[in-house]
């Protein structure tokens, strides 16, 4: 649905060519239709530039952006202003902002009507659509209020209703929950999730909060210094050994309780995650298993995550049970201080 290839954005200081800042450095991103895709990174990583390049609020220095099969970069005229075609394309991409960006001089309803005014819809049609959208985001009683009379969460709901006014297929969310408290964040994310499911909306969101990715995203990408470092669906990321995103999303910790124990990380993703493998293991080999730590989540109806378990005996004694787990299609990483273990220390704490 959204594809960027070799997207590069370089900011040049005025009249000083030697002072350049590369905000985006050859970003290839692919967001599938109907998914919620999260781009996570620290401030200054280039997330903001990336999302602004998708609807060309920022003009990329090079590279292409394709949204819903339309090459937007081809619509850019020579001048600095956006041409008619590009503006039309933008109106089909909704965008929500960190600071809501509602017009303080307009009522809630008028704010939602604004994109419809730009599209040249009649007054009656605008009012009908705006009220329908306000109902969808649960704010039908606030239509005549002014933004200043609303709480942060309510303002963002108005922002979302406004973004949906043009019946977009794609929604861009620029740190939409970063100015909100945790509880409100959850309710806004839930709303985005619901809209994604109900309307088949493709959502590209950028955030610096791992929890946001964890709670709503189907896929995620990690951005550092203007580059995408890791990218994929949540289970693909989990399947990638040493994935920073996966260990941040599913942090496990804990050490062996005694020397003659084997500690392993079991990563659940895909089919194996649906079977009770741990109890099978216990029964088949008649061993006692302790769970030291676990970070599990249900993504799209499947259990995914990581579990750190402890088996009695050293690694050599546990080759067979570990082999059993591998046979089940689980990814096993040996954790521990044993210098002769095949895999070195894999203790990577989560971001938080």
């Amino acid at each position: 649905m959204i594809t960027t290839t070799g997207l590069t954005k370089i900011y040049r200081a005025h009249h000083a060519r030697d002072r350049e800042v590369t905000a985006l450095d050859g970003v290839d991103l692919h967001v599938r239709e109907g998914e919620v895709f999260g781009v996570i990174g620290q401030s200054g990583a280039g997330k903001s530039s990336l999302i602004r390049c998708v609807n060309l609020l920022e003009r990329p220095t090079s590279g292409t952006v394709t949204v819903a099969g339309q090459d937007l970069t081809a619509l850019v005229g020579r001048g600095p202003r956006a041409g008619k075609e590009l503006r039309k394309a933008r109106s089909r991409i909704g965008m929500v902002f960190q600071h809501f960006n509602l017009l303080s001089s307009r009522t809630v309803q008028d704010n939602v009507e604004l994109p419809l005014e730009i599209l040249g819809k009649s007054g009656k049609e605008r009012a009908r659509k705006a009220l329908e959208l306000l109902d969808l985001v649960g704010l039908s009683d606030k239509a005549k209020s002014y933004p200043a009379q609303l709480s942060g969460g309510q303002k963002q709901r108005v922002g979302i209703a406004r973004a949906l006014a043009g019946d977009p297929k794609v929604l861009l969310s620029d740190e939409a929950t970063s100015a909100l408290d945790p509880e409100t964040t959850r309710s806004i994310l839930q709303l985005l999730r619901d809209l994604n499911r109900q309307l088949g909306l493709t959502v590209l969101l950028i955030t610096h909060e791992m929890d946001v990715v964890k709670s709503v995203c189907d896929s995620a990408a990690l951005m550092e210094n203007g580059k995408i470092v890791e990218s994929g669906t949540v289970s693909e990321l989990l399947a990638t050994p040493g994935s920073e995103l996966a260990s941040a999303l599913f942090p496990v910790s804990g050490d062996a309780s005694a020397d003659d124990r084997t500690v392993i990380d079991v990563t659940f993703h895909g089919e194996a995650a649906t079977r009770p493998v741990i109890s099978q293991l216990s029964r088949t080999y008649n061993i006692d298993i302790s769970i030291i730590g676990a970070a599990m989540d249900t993504v799209a109806g499947k259990q995914v995550g990581r579990m750190r378990i402890e088996l009695p005996g050293r690694y050599e004694e546990n080759v067979v049970p570990i082999g059993f787990l591998r046979e089940q299609g689980l990814q096993i990483d040996l954790v521990g201080t044993d210098p002769e273990a095949q895999q070195p220390v894999l203790v990577k704490e989560g971001a938080k």
Binding site: N55, R90, S91, H99, N101, L103, Y146, A148, Q149, A165
Partner: protein
């Protein structure tokens, strides 16, 4: 001088002042508003970035603002004659008053419009709005309280300028105060003129502040209270207030 002698004089003077200030304010707003917006749009990073145009407009505005009004009035004599057919009287005074006020108002507009959050501009662009939409739906309505304050400031400044219009025989309150009060030692009449000016300015300032504040409150951006300063500018002759103080 008795009251019955003063009354028609004062009445006529009041109308003259209102007439001159009213028309010149109207022209200043019509001319200064687009100019001020253009100053913001053509500035570096603006929607219509055009450094050359920005510099040119900025320079014209600066020159227009820095010329003392009385000199502007004399300098514009020929233009005034071309516009109105005469260089004396109320109509003739309106031309330099308006031309003097346009750059003044344009700068105030520029400051007011610059205060509008860029995020709002971005939001409208993301909806597919063009520059004209941004001006119409964002820049003007969002800065309206400040624009009203700026208009108030301009009106008060114009009342000050209009006192000098007496030199081209345009009449007005200032003219009365100088000709009768100062030159003929009619102290009583002078004080009455001063009192009338004080009341007029207070009323205008109060009405302007009230309107701006009502709009502001509706928009509800708290933390930037408008100070009620109805008496400001009365004793400072030509008024040199800044719109930023009102906001």
């Amino acid at each position: 001088m008795t009251w019955s002698e003063m009354q028609p004089l004062l009445e006529q003077a009041c109308w003259d002042t209102l007439y001159m200030v009213g028309w010149s304010t109207l022209i200043a707003v019509v001319g200064g508003l687009p100019l001020g917006i253009l100053l913001v749009l053509t500035d570096r990073g603006g929607l219509l970035q055009n450094t050359v145009l920005n510099k040119v407009i900025g320079q014209i505005v600066n020159v227009g603002r820095s010329l003392p009004f009385i000199i502007l009035m004399v300098a514009l004599m020929n233009f005034t004659r071309w516009m109105t057919g005469t260089t004396i009287g109320r109509e003739a005074a309106i031309v330099p008053l308006a031309i003097g006020a346009i750059p003044f108002f344009a700068r105030l507009v520029e400051t007011a419009v610059r205060e509008v959050d860029h995020g709002l501009v971005e939001a409208v662009q993301s909806m597919g709005g063009n520059t004209w939409t941004v001006v119409r739906k964002v820049l003007v309505p969002e800065s309206l309280p400040s624009l009203i304050s700026s208009t108030t400031t301009t009106v008060v400044a114009l009342i000050g300028y209009s006192a000098m219009a007496g030199t081209v025989g345009a009449g007005g309150l200032g003219d009365i105060a100088i000709r009768y009060g100062y030159q003929r030692f009619e102290t009583g009449l002078m004080w009455i003129t001063v009192a009338i000016l004080a009341v007029v300015i207070s009323v205008i300032q109060f009405a302007g502040d009230h309107a701006a504040r009502t709009l502001h409150r509706r928009g509800g951006r708290s933390g930037r209270p408008l100070l009620l300063r109805p008496l400001r500018g009365i004793f400072s002759g030509t008024v040199t207030t800044e719109a930023t103080k009102t906001r």
